[in-house]
């Protein structure tokens, strides 16, 4: 635990300037990840840079043309409760409800969760499945990077020195779209996922044909990953129970789980297919117009006893 210094920025440019000028800084928003690593002695930043005072970075906006825009400082609690997120991007709201506990959700930010780049981060499978794009600002200016390419490895992102994530943009979704995130963990709150699965399914005008599908897996690879082989089974095809089961099995092809304190590779592998199958089943139901109450969605997301 070193004695770090404190910096604050009031604009994005100021933040970039500080990071460019002074070495050894860590950006903090919610500060949750940084404080934990610092107390463990894993991180010894020379200084922390607080970006929470930068106005406008906590905005949530939506339009049917451009989709959902999430400022990097949007808290997980906002994701959980915001009507636009719940209605239009339910897997993200479900993931938020599965995230730690209320107190942490009030502090933690979606940008922080992305930049922490844990393979098990709860919002990441849903963000990836919704095709999120990251807007980064740095000394060289602004650039857009798909979330897929943002993650480079466990805890590693493509952020360049002095670069900041300022916004996540989720493209608009076709009308008949449903989604479910399931977090597999021993407890209904507070855990880091042992396995996380999100499926987003869009059905075409003709009932039963899958127009678009994204299936993502968390905690079973160095980063959150797309289950491409599983998606290929469904893309453009008639969706029925047998196809869903086939897709679920195929999801294993993109998983490379390891043994760790939260589970063995073997157990992780064993539960991927059932969880993918379940997310697909409910995503399809929702796409077909079945309303699932928030309570039901939460219950499914955290494998609750209720």
């Amino acid at each position: 635990m070193n004695r770090f210094a404190y910096r604050e920025a009031l604009t994005v440019q100021e933040a970039v300037d500080i990071l460019s000028r002074e070495e050894g800084g860590r950006v903090i928003a919610g500060a949750t990840d940084v404080l934990i690593r610092w107390r463990q002695g894993a991180w010894k930043p020379r200084y922390v840079l607080n970006i929470k005072r930068i106005p406008g970075l906590d905005a949530v906006s939506y339009s049917p043309e451009t989709g959902l825009s999430l400022g990097t400082l949007v808290t997980i609690r906002t994701l959980e409760r915001h009507a636009l997120v719940r209605h239009c991007y339910p897997a993200l709201a479900q993931a938020a409800t599965a995230f730690a506990g209320v107190q942490i959700r009030n502090l933690a930010t979606v940008g922080g969760n992305a930049c922490n780049a844990s393979p098990a981060g709860d919002t990441l499978p849903a963000l990836l499945a919704y095709g999120a794009v990251c807007r980064l600002v740095g000394p060289a200016g602004e650039r857009l990077v798909s979330l897929q390419h943002f993650f480079q490895g466990p805890g590693l992102t493509t952020l360049q020195p002095a670069e900041l994530l300022v916004e996540l943009c989720l493209p608009p979704l076709p009308p008949r779209t449903g989604a479910l995130y399931i977090k597999h963990s021993p407890r209904a709150t507070m855990d880091i996922a042992a396995v996380g699965v999100a499926s987003v399914v869009s059905l075409g005008e003709q009932d039963g044909i899958c127009q678009d599908v994204k299936i993502t897996l968390g905690a079973v690879a160095p980063t959150v990953v797309r289950a491409h082989a599983a998606e290929a089974v469904l893309q453009g095809s008639l969706v029925d129970a047998a196809r869903i089961q086939q897709a679920a099995q195929a999801a294993l092809e993109d998983a490379r789980p390891i043994d760790d304190i939260r589970g063995t590779a073997g157990h992780r592998r064993a539960v991927i297919a059932p969880l993918v199958r379940r997310t697909l089943h409910y995503a399809v139901q929702m796409a077909q117009g079945t309303e699932l109450s928030l309570q039901t969605q939460r219950g499914l997301a955290v494998e609750a006893i209720f």
Binding site: M1, R3, G101, H184, P186, R187, A188, T189, M190, D191, I192, I261, R262, G263, T264, G266, H267, A270, V271, P274, L275, V302, E303, A304, I305, F306
Partner: protein, 754 residues
């Protein structure tokens, strides 16, 4: 006859208002002028000789006021129990990762931590003994080479065996030979942390007069005083231990863990010194439950009568004698009448932190084994698990394992109550199952004292040395109010420390209501008799013609004639026998068993192996529920701890290093993980407990692991013999993988049979 009664009242805890408003003072809430912060340097090695310690660099860090290590303290060995195998600092070698080697006092914690990094210790590695089975091998490295020279050591088979306990009755080999069926199973349970919310904390200060004040989070102030006096070589009368509000202990704080360090540093610096353990240090500075192996062999007749039992239990004791080995002889019968038995229980040293106490240490492990084994037998014989238990359960008069006849109790009532509540037997829905387990314990005994004074305004003050963990202060108030016929709102429990209150045993082991509460009742009766004697004198009647009730002592047939308690107190100030005080002192109480029956209903997800407890019913004989709300609260808490043990918790230790010393990775149940317990309080009063009360608090945690393991078998046909009952294990079993081997080597068993 009393118009109002204090028994059976859900009187709110007397300390609750302070706790909900944040006014209660725990040890870490004390701030004294000039106070320094203490951190302890812990061994990074599981087993190594200490060649050299150099504290000079640490001493020169600005803000550091003192650094101490083994060479700076008296050469004293002490112990958690009978065998004196511990030192407060490792001296010639370290025996576990985390063992204290030095300590620093500095102006703040960050400075103290910087100083720790600058203490240079040179170690020479020694071979590490990782688990008891390795420790029992003939050529195993010795954790304590000088074990035979330690005070309190009783010769055993040698090597790393710390303690052996035995219990025998009848002829078990003959009975097994004559049995129609013999069943043999081995069960393994895991390392468990007590999980108290308040990590250890202590502030020490030395008065100008030389008295050492120690404000600490402890369950056993008198035991701390005795141990401290020993290790710092000072007289007990110079040590004042002030037990602060206790934020959970469950046994972890029955013995001295951290107090010596702030005390020694306060003596050295002349300043107050505070130590607050981190959450990680609740795994490395204080012992917790270590893994246990229990082998059981049972002989049963065709008709389901159990006639013989043999058990061999191996307790991983860690580096110092801790708790639990007793349960390998006291609990392996279960609550069953078995006329022939042979029990052996071994405490084995390994290179880990000692096996600490946790809410009747070892009994949960043994109960998991016994009650799983009971179900296995029932199922193999095609018998209903409830009926099989009912058939063999103790009756009044049967001999308990320590030889005493079992007095009247509610065991069978608890069995019937659960059966009725569940509608047993009944078929469960797909993927769901029901499982039973029975728990047994005994009400705790031990030295207990109390004194009661009546104030001049009629209010009542109670002084005892116990620490209020489970709401016992409130129950004492109810007991005293009931005995004296006083208004419960006017009964106060005095704040106490070891200077103020006479000796009492530790607050733990289900001791406090049964023994300490009894002392309170006796002291109240003593005060009552003195009040009545004084009143009789003034009213010129025999004491037998008086009633003490409703805050007065009055002539039974003429209630107008009498005195309020306060007036009697004032009168006593000038009476021949002086101010009225009721006192009581006792050292042991008669045997009063506790029995309960528990049932878990589980839902198993066959595709992921996840098991959830959707319903939990339990019936416990509490004797008399003086405060039903407090009793239920204790049972609720114990059951949820048991559910945590059953499916969530495990301290993972690899090569002596604790892999998960954190609440992120050591998982305890949260509110959304568990149901509300359905409590049935059976009340069969004891002969001797205060108003018939029995102890309550420890048994509820014993049953859930077996109840849940039994429910899992009922639900999906899978039998697990190791804890925790994880999704991984269940899924692998469902997919046909052979279960993890638990059985012990037959040669080892034969050796341990003795």
């Amino acid at each position: 006859m009393a118009d109002r009664t204090s028994l059976g009242r859900n009187y709110p805890r007397v300390d609750a208002a302070d706790k909900v408003s944040g006014r209660s003072q725990y040890a870490s809430d004390i701030y004294l002028p000039g106070m320094l912060m203490c951190k302890v340097l812990q061994s990074p090695k599981a087993h190594a000789r200490i060649l050299h310690i150099d504290t000079s660099r640490a001493e020169h860090v600005p803000g550091v006021r003192a650094v101490i290590a083994g060479r700076d303290v008296p050469d004293v060995r002490f112990g958690n129990g009978a065998v004196k195998d511990k030192r407060i600092f490792a001296l010639e070698k370290v025996r576990y990762i985390g063992e204290p080697v030095a300590a620093v006092a500095a102006v703040d914690e960050i400075t103290a931590l910087e100083a720790l990094d600058l203490i240079d210790v040179t170690y020479e590695d020694l071979p590490v003994v990782n688990d008891p089975l390795d420790a029992l091998k003939p050529d195993a490295p010795l954790v304590h080479e000088d074990l035979p020279s330690y005070a309190g050591y009783k010769p055993t088979m040698g090597g790393n065996i710390c303690t052996v306990l035995e219990a025998d009755r009848g002829d078990v080999d003959a009975a097994l030979a004559q049995s129609d069926h013999v069943f043999e199973d081995t069960f393994r349970s895991q390392g468990i942390n007590q999980g108290y919310l308040e990590a250890m904390a202590c502030v020490a200060n030395v008065d100008p007069s030389g008295r050492i004040n120690v404000w600490t989070s402890t369950q056993a102030p008198y035991q701390i005083r005795a141990t401290l006096a020993d290790v710092i070589a000072r007289p007990m009368a110079r040590l004042r231990i002030i037990p602060m509000e206790l934020g959970g202990g469950f046994g972890a704080k029955l013995r001295m863990c951290v107090e010596a360090y702030p005390v020694l540093l306060a003596l050295k610096t002349g300043k107050p010194v505070k130590l607050i353990a981190t959450r990680e240090e609740t795994f490395t500075l204080s012992g917790f439950r270590l893994p246990t192996i229990v082998y059981i062999k049972t002989g049963v007749m065709h008709d389901g009568t159990i006639v013989a039992r043999e058990s061999i239990s191996i307790f991983d004791m860690g580096a110092h004698l801790g708790a639990g080995v007793q349960s390998g002889v006291s609990h392996t019968l279960g609550p069953y009448h078995i006329p022939n038995y042979r029990m052996r229980s071994y405490a084995v040293y390994t290179n880990k932190i000692w096996a600490g106490s946790y809410r009747a240490s070892g009994v949960a492990d043994v109960t998991f084994a016994v009650e799983s084994h009971t179900d296995i037998i029932a199922r193999r014989l095609g018998l209903d698990p409830w009926a099989f238990r009912k058939q063999n359960a103790f009756h009044e008069g049967d001999l308990a394992i320590q030889g005493s006849p079992i007095p009247r109790n509610g065991l069978h009532e608890t069995l019937e109550a659960v059966k009725q509540r569940l509608g047993w037997p009944r078929k469960s829905a797909e993927g769901m199952g029901l499982g039973l387990a029975m728990c047994q314990w005994r009400s705790g005994s031990g030295p207990s004292t109390a004194s009661i004074s009546i104030q001049e305004d009629g209010t009542v003050s109670i002084l005892t040395g116990s620490v209020d963990i489970t709401g016992t202060d409130t129950v004492f108030a109810q007991i005293a109010a009931q005995a004296l016929g006083a208004d419960l709102d006017h009964v106060v429990i005095a704040r106490r420390d070891t200077d103020l209150a006479p000796f009492t045993g530790p607050s733990g082991g289900s001791r406090i209501i049964y023994s300490q509460g009894k002392a309170v009742q006796m002291a109240a009766d003593d005060a009552k008799h003195k009040l009545m004697a004084l009143a009789a004198e003034h009213l010129d009647v025999q004491p037998g013609m008086l009633t003490c009730a409703n805050g007065r002592v009055y002539v039974t047939d003429n209630p107008e004639r009498g005195y309020p308690l306060g007036q009697l107190a004032r009168m006593s100030l000038t009476s021949a026998s002086g101010p009225i005080m009721g006192t009581a002192s006792l050292s042991s109480m008669p045997f009063a068993p506790i029995f309960s029956t528990q049932a878990a209903e589980v839902k198993v997800d066959k595709e992921t192996g996840t098991v959830k407890v959707v319903r939990f019913v339990q019936a416990q004989d509490v004797g008399v529920a003086i405060n039903p709300m407090a009793v239920e609260g204790q049972i609720d808490g114990g059951v949820i701890q048991g559910i945590g043990r059953a499916i969530l918790e495990e301290v993972v230790i690899k090569d002596g290093k604790i892999v998960n010393p954190s609440l992120t990775t050591y998982l305890m149940p949260m509110a959304a993980d568990v149901p509300s317990v359905e409590n049935i309080l059976v009340q069969v009063p004891t002969e001797d407990g205060p108003f018939g009360a029995r102890a309550v608090a420890e048994p509820p945690g014993f049953g859930p692991p077996a109840a849940i393991a039994n429910a899992i078998e009922d639900a999906v046909g899978v039998r697990l013999k190791t804890l925790p009952l994880s999704a991984d294990k269940i899924l692998r079993a469902l997919q046909g993988e052979p279960p993890e081997a638990t059985a012990l080597d037959p040669d080892l068993l034969q050796r341990l049979r003795g």
